[in-house]
Subunit: 414 residues, 2 copies
């Protein structure tokens, strides 16, 4: 197929202007004055070029995106939200392929080229349980995994989706879930999830036994939700660190949220960061609501990979969220009180390179030979793009144009 | 002049659809099926109508809005930012009428009809001082007050601006500033400000003596910056409450930021809220960065008025901010972990009725006889408008159309 020559862009990190030649889905050339040959030429007019954005944590299967406004219906406690969701999923027809598709389309148009989504996988509830869900509420089975898989397959050329099998209602406290997680892995999910091994599932070591056991047996990655606060959460981070190191799973384990890391004193943060870096564990944050945000700058300085995602987007857990990762990066930078450009860029790194490392994307970036996934914005600096979240003037995925704005035919405003 | 008939809107708070007849700058009629007479008719197609948004706390004189991107140049401490600003103001030509004007235009187009801005008023520094500013740095004199006044006068039909004379560099620790504040009042500012009476100005009682003395002598309002944390901030809130009650200034005193109120334990919050309500003090929050947000729901339940503004917008203190008050309300709702519609509406109330009460706007609201200041958005509910921050399809100020989008000629999307 004829390629694409993006003329006169400013690729993030290269410090200057360059043309980008795209051919056969990869960056075939990067530098000034490239020969277009028979490639289609798009003039970027000096606009900023970022690598494709990487959504490292969301819940596509839960979303109501693109449908009518649904006022939040749950009570204030976590158990209220879990119970509300278990009741209303069926009423609202969730997971809804139309809603999943609408959200993925919005994400793609906003420059996201890769998504990791946590899909609920839990069994029905035969009797009384602790999490507040109604007795006898139906489990998800593998429906969510199949729905997300099928929608993602239809959009495969525009956005790449990988799933984490997520035991939203616990593993040990929701018997049958471990077997379902294993079935989800056989269906092709790329990671196994977990949730508050102590606070929710009441037995941190056995919870991690199941999660790490599945990961080791099947060669999938791990991405655990950890909301547990304070010293309990710190203890669990230590357990996960020790186990990751022992299992030799460097680069294959992510802890999402990790509120305890944001709450800890500086000395504890330093100690945890050193352990996480050595073990090769990613911390993924969504900077949601008023919950503690992990110390992004300190983590990066210690060598810990940091990724970022939305968490819930317009669902029964949260009415907020747009799918726009530059907006999410803004929230992360803002909650981190990042003012200087080089600090704000850490938030942008989290929704690009940090996410790519968490997902293990091969060859990601703005270099020759890399997959041609990129997004073009009218911004003076990368930090400026985070602060103002300008329209995505051009989005390219695997060498194909996913979306473009009319603005591209005009000189940039800035 | 011929009036304006807004056909088929959904005014917030009325629970149904209504026409709004605007004549001579006020709402002359509100109800179904109004007769247009010779008025221009604009069909709202069932869109949501909000009263004009009220920006209760910003710093127009500092802004770089609309100019080139200026990477943040100050060090991490408060003293660094104060010193950086004192050096760079002259270099950047601040206050810059073009920048002030650009920001006010953006605010007006985003539906803001009233603005309270804190304008720096401080004297030069003859010798060494405590706040980290360079020795001998120039004071602002009354330049900022005059620049903002002149720009505001040019935009008077589109947006109303009132100023607080703000002693950014202290009053007691910056001799000559008290006299400048008094001159600013004579120039027409509507309120006198203060800043961290203890933490910055080192003598809370004498600081409040000056501020309350000026307010009582000249009949202006008070709006104090209070960043002081913990028990120190709580003590200052008590001092301000006692003094407001003693002076009979109910409805005329605002405390901005009040981080200590967000940090306090629940019992202390309850006690402070009762006192603030009885004294008639407004709490204005901007929900900036990771700083503590006052407990909005608790304050409202106790009867305390709550307003909201941006604080810094694209200036030497913060590179963030857009001037869009629906976005600011989103930040406030989000940091307050408001999920339910009725809670999210409290954030919307803060950027409308709460701000109007803080500024003492007469007759504000969507009722017959009120000034015709309103904004129309395509949203299903007020909470939906906060979450999605849709374009402002129509903005009316004092009966005149300030801006409108093409979307108004089409049916609403939602």
């Amino acid at each position: 197929m004829p390629g694409l020559l993006l003329r006169d862009g400013r690729p993030w990190g290269t410090g200057g202007r360059a043309d980008i030649l795209v051919s056969d889905g990869v960056v075939a050339g990067l530098g000034p004055g490239l020969d277009a040959g028979d490639a289609e030429v798009v003039d970027l007019g000096g606009r900023l070029v970022l690598p494709g954005l990487v959504e490292a944590h969301c819940h596509l299967d839960k979303t109501l995106y693109g449908g009518p406004w649904r006022p939040h219906s749950a009570g204030p406690a976590l158990a209220d939200r879990i119970a509300d969701e278990r009741v209303r999923r069926a009423e609202l027809g969730l997971p809804d392929p139309a809603r999943v598709s609408a959200l993925l389309e919005a994400m793609a148009a906003a420059g996201t080229t890769h998504v990791r989504t946590h899909t609920d996988v839990y069994s029905g509830i035969p009797g009384v349980r602790t999490a507040g869900a109604p007795v006898g509420a139906a489990g998800t089975g593998l429906t969510g995994v199949e729905v997300v898989r099928d929608v993602a397959a239809r959009l495969a050329g525009r956005i790449t989706v990988e799933q984490v099998a997520f035991p939203q209602s616990g593993i040990l406290t929701n018997p049958g879930t471990a077997a379902l997680l294993e079935e989800a892995i056989k269906l092709g999910v790329s990671a196994v999830g977990g949730i508050d091994p102590a606070g929710m599932d009441r037995d941190p070591v056995r919870h991690l036994d199941v999660v790490f056991g599945l990961a080791e047996r099947h060669g999938v990655r791990i991405d655990l939700h950890l909301h547990d606060p304070g010293s309990l959460g710190v203890f669990e981070l230590e357990l996960i660190t020790e186990r990751t190191r022992a299992a030799g799973l460097a680069g294959r384990v992510t802890v999402s949220h990790a509120y305890a890391l944001g709450q800890a004193d500086a000395a504890t943060q330093d100690r945890l960061a050193a352990g996480l870096a050595e073990a090769g564990i990613t911390i993924t944050t969504a900077a949601v609501f008023d919950f503690p945000v992990p110390p992004v700058k300190k983590l990066r300085e210690a060598g810990v990979n940091v990724a970022c995602g939305h968490d819930d987007i317009r669902d029964l857990w949260s009415p907020y969220g747009s799918g726009d990762l530059l907006e999410r990066a803004m929230h992360l930078a803002y909650r981190s009180t990042f003012r200087r450009d080089e600090d704000i860029e850490l938030a942008l790194e989290a929704v690009t390179y940090g996410g790519a490392r968490a997902l293990g994307l091969a060859g990601y970036g703005l270099t020759e030979g890399a997959p041609a996934d990129l997004v073009v914005v009218d911004a003076e600096t990368p930090a400026h793009a985070v602060v103002t979240r300008p329209p995505r003037d051009l989005v390219v995925k695997a060498g194909h144009i996913v979306s473009r704005t009319d603005a591209l035919s005009r000189p940039p405003a800035r």
